[in-house]
């Protein structure tokens, strides 16, 4: 039985408990001297329903993790499993094939040995399904009855339900911390394993990148794991080329929209910029690879550069810059709007033109906010994946020529983890180390940027 059915069962039992408890509380209310009991009947109902649904949900979560293991243990204990290969990949594939047949997701078996396992599997699955369903019922019944018996005229159900609600809200907000912890722990764990095989010095300061996923994992060649070309490619594409496009265009867009544009024009342009920001990165990547990169190559050939490749840092950087324009524009918009009106009025009253006011007063006053916005934009650009995967190329070149193919941290993460490499190989683990560096850098940029923005806001408030 799938967890979904168990879940529906749990909700059904909860509803039954809800109805029963409400009826009981109404009974008390009718008998009460002044027609009042300690809490509204609905709260009694919710009290019982929560006592049924929450324990059952916990059980289902636990059960959906442990029951597959129990099933495969039962199958391995059966006589038919005695002839299986002792360990390894083949055994796993036979097991998973038999499981697929037994659970009905495929019809025929490919491997003879798997056919023998189908029946034990089917038996074990149905056995544990029954155990799971029965346990669900028993738990729901026990907790439900216990809660139901507590429903009394003087039982303060509301405060208890509200306490539970507060607990649930608190738990929901803890998910964010758990996610952050999950990211940090999983990245650190794999990175430490990686640094056990390749020295951090080789990784952080080496200038040759070319891990071979097929090499002997126990004796990796540290000189092939130098990530400097990746860092340079990432900075060159995301923080230099993209920003050369995005900063002037985004800043000027924001200035024009806030200071000059007719409200009617603004009503049209703002949604257009929002659309530009909402286009998926895979579409930008396709656009870069299909249209921009060949155009740049043709242009390079036309001005006499003979070795221009069809994948170039310039194509990826330009398209990434366009993608970032709306982001820079909205950040600049916010910080210019935060400059007090009095400063602008003062400048205009002194006889400065509008553009002089903007260039000499508004932009300098808003500069901390704009710089913070640019930092956020850079952190977004260096974490961008699809555009570089589709347009920047795989060659780890350490060059400043924008017409050459260049690779980035994100590209290599994708390349290392979508190949066929095993999880214990340093080439695969290198992806986690790269991810860890990326995470720390974006975290640092964001942290500084948010602080700057905060201090800047406070300065004018």
């Amino acid at each position: 039985m799938s967890p979904v059915i168990l879940l529906v069962l749990a909700l059904g039992l909860g509803l039954a408990g809800w109805l029963a408890a409400r009826a009981r509380a109404w009974g008390f209310k009718r008998e009460a001297v002044n027609g009042r009991i300690a809490a509204l009947p609905t709260y009694h109902a919710w009290y019982v329903a929560l006592w049924i649904v929450i324990p059952v949900m916990m059980f289902i979560a636990l059960w959906s993790v442990i029951s597959p293991q129990l099933v495969s243990q039962a199958v391995l204990a059966s006589p038919a499993a005695a002839e299986l290969p002792a360990f390894g990949f083949q055994r796993d594939s036979i097991m998973s094939e038999a499981r697929a047949v037994a659970s009905g997701s495929t019809r025929s078996v490919f491997n003879e040995q798997a056919a023998a396992l189908v029946e034990p599997y089917r038996a074990a699955i149905s056995q544990y399904n029954i155990i799971g369903a029965l346990s669900t019922l028993v738990i729901a019944f026990l907790t439900g009855v216990w809660a139901f018996l507590r429903v009394k005229p003087d039982f303060t159900a509301r405060t208890r339900v509200e306490r539970a609600v507060m607990m649930i809200l608190l738990l929901a907000s803890l998910v964010a911390i758990l996610t952050t912890l999950g990211i940090v722990v999983s990245l650190v764990f794999e990175t430490v394993r990686f640094f056990g095989m390749v020295s951090p010095m080789d990784f952080l300061f080496g200038t040759q990148w070319g891990p071979d996923p097929m090499s002997n994992p126990n004796n990796p060649d540290g000189s092939r794991y130098g990530a400097i070309p990746l860092f340079w490619g990432t900075i060159f594409i995301g923080a230099i080329i993209a920003m050369i496009v995005a900063i002037p265009l985004g800043l000027m867009s924001a200035i024009y929209l806030t200071q000059y544009a007719d409200p009617r024009l603004r009503a049209w342009i703002k949604p257009a910029l929002e659309i530009l920001a909402g286009v998926p990165t895979v579409v930008y990547g396709y656009f870069a690879a299909l249209t921009v990169a060949p155009a740049i190559r043709d242009w390079a050939l036309a001005i006499g550069i003979s070795n221009a490749s069809s994948e170039s840092a310039l194509a990826a950087g330009l398209v990434m810059g366009v993608m970032i324009i709306p982001f820079v524009s909205s950040m600049a918009d916010d910080s210019i709007a935060a400059v007090p009106q009095a400063m602008r009025d003062g400048s205009l009253a002194m006889g400065a033109t509008k553009s002089e006011t903007i260039r000499r007063v508004l932009v300098p006053a808003a500069l901390p906010g704009i710089v913070a916005g640019v930092m956020l934009a850079v952190s977004r650009a260096i974490g961008e994946t699809m555009i570089v995967v589709m347009a920047a190329g795989a060659a780890a070149n350490l060059t400043a020529n924008p017409l050459e193919a260049m690779t980035t941290v994100t590209f290599q993460i994708v390349a290392m983890l979508t190949g066929e490499g095993s999880f214990d190989h340093p080439a695969t683990l290198a992806a986690f180390a790269l991810g860890f560096v990326l995470f720390m850098v974006t975290l640092g940029l964001n942290f500084i940027a948010l602080r700057v923005v905060k201090r800047f806001r406070e300065a004018y408030e």
Binding site: G278, V279, V322, T385
Partner: protein, 416 residues
């Protein structure tokens, strides 16, 4: 000659003023052109995709009349309503029949250029209506990718000549291919469809919504209404703000390291993809939810408290309903972002070749953006148009979602 127009307006002043006004105009023009550049890029992108994509909704098909009275195929409604009907027809020699009639009518070369699985189309028609086995019926069957390229003016000269001959005879034409919206992935660009990926996307988005929306709203309520001002609350706030800015690929690494470690058999399942995207979408919902909750005026809370509502009642009976339109707007925008997300799903293995639409949350699936990425990697020229067509489908969905968000914002959001 009096050089002064007014007490301060000297000639130098006039010249300077002219210069300053010119600078003003230049500055304004620079601003306008920055905006026009963005709009032009957007239009160029949309127009390129549309022009390419229109071709993706069409395919080259050949007209073949099949006279079933000669073919000697048997079958009626009862035998052909079973599961293996297509196999029954195959065993009776339907592929050979289709090939025979194709060669008869299109010539030896033309008949060879009919798509390999064309007979399946015929079989499906027969299963739908077995009575055509007593008739002569004209089918429109997909041409091979080579011939399709020839018709588009590319590929080898031989194919170009063949395509020109057949289309002159009226036997080869480009037809609207509505099946593109109903089929799943395939190796032949003539046979591919978007439905498999679209269904995968829907399943994934459903999981994402189911997880991210309740958790996000509850976290926003807690942080905005109840959280005490202490260090723990600061930690929660900082981690939510940071999560909103973490690159999406990092969430893919998390999904790979944690979710696939917990559920190793669910590589490329919508459930895992949805959970990964939910972690990414949740901070967006929390941040927009908090803004919406903040916008509800304190007088509403005070009024409810004054007539004896408990803090939980104040929030669930008054604040939440008033903030809901704003929360929903933020949720839809977050979901639209998740729908277009590719990189984290590549990490958790949703890039497998999946030739049938997924049946459920745990069966292998792919999603629209990943399908676009996979097709963009194909060498076959026919995939270029198909990729653009898939992009159009994706963009239409995103526009619908954003349109809904804008509608909600304008219709329900109150200015207090």
């Amino acid at each position: 000659m009096n050089e002064r127009i007014a007490p301060t307006r000297t000639v130098e002043f006039e010249a300077r003023l002219k210069k300053r006004y010119a600078a003003e105009r230049r500055f304004k023009l620079a601003g306008l052109s920055a905006i026009l550049f963005s709009v032009a890029v957007l239009l160029f992108l949309l127009i390129t995709m549309t022009i390419n994509g229109i071709g993706g909704f069409q395919r080259a098909e050949m007209n073949v009349a099949i006279d079933f009275t000669e073919a000697g195929l048997s079958g009626d409604r009862s035998t052909l309503s079973q599961v293996g009907a297509v196999q029954i027809l195959e065993a009776q020699g339907l592929p050979a029949t289709v090939e025979y009639f194709a060669q008869e009518q299109l010539g030896e070369e033309g008949g060879a250029q009919i798509s390999d699985s064309a007979w399946r189309l015929v079989a499906d028609e027969i299963v739908d209506d077995p009575s055509i086995l007593q008739k002569e019926v004209t089918f429109s069957l997909p041409a091979s990718p080579n011939l399709a390229a020839g018709l588009a003016g590319e590929g080898s000269d031989k194919m170009k000549a063949l395509a020109a001959r057949l289309s002159d005879e009226g036997k080869l034409e480009t037809k609207l291919d509505l099946g593109f919206l109903q089929r799943a992935d395939a190796t032949d660009p003539q046979e591919v469809g978007i439905w498999g990926a679209l269904k995968g996307s829907m399943l994934t988005m459903f999981v994402t919504l189911l997880m991210a929306f309740p958790i996000g709203v509850m976290a926003a309520l807690y942080l905005e209404e109840y959280a005490p001002k202490n260090r723990w609350t600061d930690v929660i706030e900082v981690s939510i703000n940071n999560l909103a800015a973490v690159p999406s690929i990092i969430f893919g690494l998390l999904g790979l390291a944690v979710f696939l470690w917990l559920f190793p058999n669910m590589r490329s399942a919508p459930l895992i993809g949805g959970m990964t995207l939910a972690l990414m979408t949740m901070p967006v919902i929390v941040i927009s939810g908090r803004n919406a909750i903040k916008a509800v005026p304190p007088s509403i809370r005070d009024g409810a408290l004054a007539i004896g509502a408990s803090p939980v009642q104040v929030v669930f009976h008054h604040v939440l309903p008033l903030a809901l339109p704003g929360i929903l707007t933020g949720t839809i925008i977050g979901m639209a972002r998740a729908l277009g997300e590719t990189a984290p799903l590549l990490m958790i293995g949703m890039r497998a070749f999946v030739a049938t639409p997924p049946d459920g949350f745990t069966s292998p699936a792919t999603v629209l953006p990943v399908q676009i990425f996979l097709w963009s990697d194909e060498i076959d020229r026919g995939f270029v148009e198909r990729t653009s067509a898939a992009i159009i489908v994706l963009l239409i969905f995103l526009m619908l979602m954003n349109g809904l968000a804008i509608y909600l914002r304008n219709r329900f959001e109150k200015k207090w």
